[in-house]
């Protein structure tokens, strides 16, 4: 199979997955307890008012009519209107997406920059102090709950020493970069970095620990394989053996995990977003779920689901690039 056909096949599978997500998410509203009218109408509302609001929101129509209407609207890029605010669900979701992407990517960068060198050092200096330090770091990183770490970082670095803001996003990356390019002002970028550092470290710590362990075990595995011994026997320099051959093979599972984790970060950074009042998709989804704001829940989950599909596609492509055998 050629690379092009491989990607088309994966793309088509992705479309079906997204349709499945849409259908399941739409169906969930009928099996989930709690009525959105409870949240839109006041507690003491009369039955007449409840019926009026239900009619206004289109909730009194049959299930299948609502489903096909929704599918049709979705194909036209319309995710409906938030029950609670009355504004377009899509504008709400896409206004939150950059914040979440920035945080997820920043956390991933923190993780990759720290974990891969740490994992390699740990594997190549097995049973040495550097290895013990790295494995201890991994253990602590995996065992530390996000919310605790976030609160501690804020208490020490923000409240006590005033080094970072306690919370919020400050400025988006795009406006910060625009300021830099058009006005030659670095203040925007400085603000962005100061705001994103603590949430990215908080969110990235578990991820860092995970990838460190994965890299270490993968590297140890590869270094013990016959091709490494053969390379060394042929007289290849050790750095070439380690970093070109062994590390390259080690990175295959790491890339897969990175991709999946990035998808998880987009949808699941809820606790970090709550601790840092980060205006991302995670808190939007949680608030929408609490309020049974179904257009917003559906839209967000579809965007997150689509994100997963795209990331998987990207991972598959990378995977195919690193190891062309998977195409066949």
């Amino acid at each position: 199979m050629s690379m092009g056909r491989f990607l088309i096949k994966r793309g088509l599978q992705g479309v079906f997955v997204i349709w499945g997500v849409v259908t399941v998410v739409f169906g969930l509203r009928y099996v989930t307890p709690g009525n959105p009218i409870t949240f839109v109408a006041p507690l003491d509302a009369s039955q007449e008012l409840r019926q009026q609001i239900a009619a206004e929101l289109g909730l009194n129509r049959p299930f299948y009519v609502q489903y096909f209407d929704y599918l049709l609207s979705l194909l036209q890029g319309d995710m409906g209107y938030s029950y609670i605010s009355g504004t377009e669900a899509s504008s709400l979701i896409f206004s939150r997406l950059p914040a979440t992407l920035e945080l997820a990517v920043a956390a991933s960068i923190v993780a990759v920059v720290i974990s891969i060198p740490l994992g390699v050092v740990s594997a190549t200096r097995r049973h040495e102090p550097a290895d013990y330090a790295a494995t201890s770091f991994s253990l602590v990183g995996i065992s530390t709950p996000n919310f605790w770490l976030g609160i501690m970082l804020v208490l020490v670095l923000s409240v006590q020493f005033g080094l970072f803001p306690t919370s919020r996003r400050g400025i988006g990356l795009y406006p910060a970069l625009t300021m830099l390019v058009t006005q030659f002002q670095v203040s925007g970028l400085v603000t962005w970095i100061s705001h994103i550092t603590l949430p990215a470290v908080t969110l990235g710590t578990y991820f860092t620990a995970l990838i460190t362990r994965l890299t270490r075990s993968g590297m140890l595995d590869e270094l013990g394989k016959p091709y490494v011994r053969a390379s060394r026997a042929k007289g290849l320099p050790e750095t070439l053996v380690r970093y070109k051959h062994a590390l390259r093979n080690t990175l295959i599972p790491v890339v897969t995990v990175l991709g999946l984790q990035l998808g998880t970060l987009i949808g699941g950074a809820v606790i970090t977003e709550a601790v840092f009042a980060w205006p991302g998709l995670g808190t939007l989804v949680i608030n929408a779920i609490n309020a049974r704001d179904w257009p917003l829940i559906q839209g967000s989950l579809i965007v997150i689901g689509t994100g997963f599909v795209l990331i998987n596609l990207l991972v598959d492509t990378l995977y195919a690039y690193i190891n062309p055998q998977v195409v066949h």
Binding site: P33, G34, N35, T38, F39, V40, A41, P42, L43, D44, A45, S46, Q47, L49, R50, Q52, I53, A55, E56, Y81, I84, S85, G86, T87, E88, S91, L92, S95, R96, I151, V154, L155, S158, V159, G162, P165, T166, S167, R168, R169, A274, V275, F276, A277, P279, T283, L284, N287, N290, A291, R292
Partner: protein, 542 residues
Amino acid sequence: MAHDEGTSRRKFLTAAGTAAATASIAGCTGGEGGQDTTTETDTATEETTETTEDGGDQSGDFSVTITQGQMPTTLDPQNHRSTPTDNVVLHAYEGLLSRTRKGKVQAQLATEWNRQEPGVVRFQIREGVTFHSGNELTPEDVAFSINRIVKKDVGIASPQSDQLAGVTGAKVVDGERAVDVMSDGLNPIVFSLFATYGDVMEKAWVQDREKSQIAKQMNGTGPFELDTYEENVKVEFSRNDDYWQDPAAVTSLTFRAAKESSTRVNQLLSGETDIIVNVPPQAISRVKGANDARVAAVPSTRVIYNAMRYDVEPFSSPKFRQAMNYAVNLEGIIENVLQTFGDATGQPTLEGFFGYNPDVGPYAYNKQKAETLVEESGHAGAEITLHTPVGRYLKDLEIAQAVANQINQLSNVSCSVKQRDFGTLAGELTDGNLETSPKFYLIGWGNATFDASQTIIPLLTSDGALTSYSNDELDNLIEQAQSESNQDERKQLLQEANKLIHDQAPWIFLNRQYSVYGATNDVKWQARRDERIDAYAMEPQQ
């Protein structure tokens, strides 16, 4: 009460008494001449005493940031029922009447208000008021706004129609700068309702816009104009220099939200915000210990209670219900769980409200009496479950656990707690069918009208939207009160109703919730009982 900021019961009672008296006079009999009829007495004492160490901003710029737990759900002042939304939109929109911090009804966009006949009241509309669009406020705008709330065919099915209970519509009076508001009966509390609800919008502005645009833009008559709105992120206002009263001292105002209370406290202590809501009891000492921040606490208009369904055993027995009240050490809960940020109640109506019965106190803790009453009720050995939301009210789960634990201490009743999703629980309570409600549940009820009827009617009358109780005698008393034009008579009827409810004990009467704020010392501000955060009343510390 052990609060630095002076929320003592004596001070509160003084203030609340004044509020109730003035609210009942102006709110119920109608003000013959507006402001002149609502003279505020000076007997009320401020609940919070401001002290300062830092000077204010001398440059003329006075920016204030307020951080709530939630952002506004919308900027449409007539299409929501949430307090955080009110706190934001009421800086740009105003009603015909309003309330002072102490709860007194006062003139706002109406200069006079009076009854024309049973079911018809007239408001004289203030002249010289302009919307932020620059257009002048007209009686047509006022009538349109009221109709938009109470009539489904005027734009939206407003969730606020039940807040203007009994109001059927409004029309402009020919030849006068006045609006007549019609009700389907006497509507004794109509002025109280308009003092809290009924924000005025510009008719043409609303009609020119889609519902989704109205939810994101603002055009009111208030002291602040909208600058930027990032949905669910921030709302920024600037001062309206053309305001019909003196312009605000605050030049720019920002609302933000942080769901986590610890995040809000951190923001306050690091100087990133000026006012935060709902400081949790465990963080109070942290705020108090800071050099440039303080705690401002005030009794709210929200009562927390445990409803017991009158139609199922063992709660069908008044003796069993009374026993549950005697079993609960309410003072202990207020002291230990709420760290004194609460007041004990013994009736559904809060102190300071019209119709509150001062002769009815909380049930005194008496375990032995509770056990005896359980025996007499014939329900010894009963096993009951208390359903409670989590995180909806201040320390709701902890209060429920304390109540259940204390009932469990009785030798003849066992009690457990079931944590519930608020939305699901609320759905069961509001579906119009008593049988789908839990038999025993914790819930809170806010009533910003300061009138007993707005608590008793929805929660305790046979036809109430969230009722857990039915009693013909109580229904009769309330019916009489709602058709009584003599305020002394009406007050007596409501007080009788409160006594009856105390004795029949359809609830375990719990606490009055407190609003606990954190504030920087840079801002001179006093908390309000109706949970509003009014930036117009803020000044820089000198």
